[in-house]
Symmetry: C2
Subunit: 335 residues, 2 copies
DNA sequence: ATGAAAGCGCTAACAG
DNA sequence: CTGTTAGCGCTTTCAT
């Protein structure tokens, strides 16, 4: 059988309390007994039962993380940052793949509550009222990543999407482009959808370029296929553009493929700028110029915020993370 | 405060035992009391404490999964399959990012043991003796994914790497290629390294093509940069090949980039076949022909195996998963 | 059909 | 410095 603290105590001729003290580095024992106990632990191959510990201490040293899609490159970079930071602090992370499904999300929230995780990181999705209510009910720290809520007071970690889109568009303008199209992702996404479109329009206006409705096209998500379809649509609808701002790298790469197939040379005939700076951005042909969100970093920051909330019981300040343009080879200066 | 089973019992005027029975759908209560109890649960917003449950039942309904690198596209597709299946069966998954680091891996194994997970999935890495020993010590079901061990009797789920490499090479040969180079990943990897090289060599031999040492080059991993470096090396060392078999899609894409930069047209001047069939394979320019490993599927299969082991207490049969060639546009028939 | 009570393995007063 | 003991929230005999 698996040895318990009792077995250790018996073997070392001390009480379980003493073993517990030694295990938790609490004061109250001599070097001598410590050695005795450590020896017993060693010999028995004893490992404390974290479940029992969790029951009494009410701290499970585990975090819950929700993603709409764990297998997206986007999510996995954030996860990497979260996991690394959690591990540094001796915590585990339970991943939840919500599939952007309300029922499934609620189910996960319930499970995380039942498993008494110490904190939750909610990523990349609009926070619905029912999620918020469930979250509040749980009464544990929450941090939002790559999403935010202006209705509910939860701390978030994200870039300023409008600003980042503005920067991307402006970058194109500075490179001499005047006819700039945009491929947006989901149309009514209040986090990654509308703000980026607004940033794009704002940049055009501020530079006295006319904004034309036909130059912007919407997809159903932020994936590669959306990029392909939207690019085709754009080419059909309004082919007179010299640059396109894609709302994600995957969209940009989809657009790139279409351009390639149509014999349009990037960046000679057409410039493309992406959004995210995923690892694939540097792997594309040509390497993609894009506005970078430091995803790994964002995961780290959010997790550290969560830990500070867990420790101090306070709430953390939201963090707007700086984006930056990563210049590669998909944009040409045409002036 | 968070309501406990006691609160429910009190409110419903029954014992905690009865509440427990109802919660667990065990026999022994009338419809009437069931309703009373359900009502109390509802009103209190009671959610059972999985930690307390785990302590007595010795089942935590959580699985541990170890990856050398969670943020790789490769890993995240497997994770997706695992998570989906676990969720179907009402289990959670704790992800561990070992970084291919022995110390870190051992640490995770310890944590998973302390947290009393019900089973473990170990992926993509050679199983060292110390891991195996720790695993055995834990006395819980284990399944290996995308790796295997011939020294230790653990069930695995993987494709036949040698066979898959053979198929890829043969595909090139059938398309008229005679001078075929190979970019391998890690040299001494007994799982994803050597077997693929062997498959490549075997295919050449079986087709009476000479195997030339200079046509095979090794990297330090299976990543994009390795692809870039190895392709450059290959071009320098032995430029007289018409096709290359890359040991991973990322390597293939790295090779593709170099070809592009050097003005070598794929597939007109050079054919490239990859390995894995990651999502990026269809996003590349041109879309990459590759040998597919059904990663999501493998994650699912492994998880189901794990569940069957957990339930029946037996061990499962290892599964060799069929690979297949996915024809896209990076290979040209030149005969 | 239902309840009382004994733990699961651990921590945390409290006493000494 | 060390031990005793009362839980943490639940499941599970064993009675009734």
């Amino acid at each position: 059988m698996i040895p318990t603290i009792k077995d250790v105590a018996r073997k070392a001729n001390v009480s379980t309390a003493t073993v517990s003290r030694i295990l938790n580095e609490l004061p109250g024992y001599s070097e001598k007994t410590k050695e005795k106990v450590l020896k017993a632990i060693e010999e028995l191959g004893y490992q404390p039962n974290a479940i029992a510990r969790g029951l009494v201490s009410k701290r499970t040293k585990t975090l819950g993380v929700l993603f709409p899609n764990v297998s997206s490159i986007f999510a996995s970079e954030i996860l990497n940052g979260i996991e690394d930071t959690a591990h540094e602090q001796d915590h585990s992370v339970i991943v939840c793949n919500t599939d952007s499904n309300g029922v499934r999300t609620m189910k996960y929230l319930q499970v995380l509550n039942e498993k008494r995780v110490d904190g939750i990181i909610f990523t990349s999705e609009v926070l619905k009222k029912e999620y918020y209510d469930a979250l509040v009910e749980m009464n544990i720290p929450i941090v939002l990543v790559s999403t935010a809520s202006y209705r509910y007071p939860l701390p978030f970690v994200k870039v300023d999407d409008k600003h980042a889109a503005y920067s991307a568009t402006e970058y194109l303008i500075k490179n001499g482009h005047k006819k700039i199209a945009m491929i947006s992702g989901t149309k009514d996404d209040s986090i990654a959808g509308t703000p980026r479109v607004e940033g794009y329009i704002q940049a055009l206006k501020d530079n006295n370029l006319s904004y034309e409705n036909r130059r912007i096209v919407y997809g159903i998500d932020f994936g590669y296929k959306t990029g392909v379809m939207c690019m085709e649509e754009l080419l059909k609808k309004a082919p007179d553009f010299t640059a396109v701002f894609a709302a994600s790298d995957e969209i940009a790469i989809g657009a790139l493929s279409v351009a390639y197939k149509e014999g349009i040379k990037v960046p000679d005939d057409l410039s493309i700028i992406g959004y995210d700076n995923l690892k694939v951005a540097e792997m594309s042909i040509p390497p993609l110029t894009t506005v970078a969100q430091p995803l790994y970093e964002m995961g780290k920051i959010a997790t550290n915020m969560l830990f500070s909330m867990i420790k101090n019981g306070n709430t953390a300040e939201s963090r707007i993370i700086q984006h930056r343009i990563v210049e590669r080879q998909s944009v040409k200066n045409i002036q």
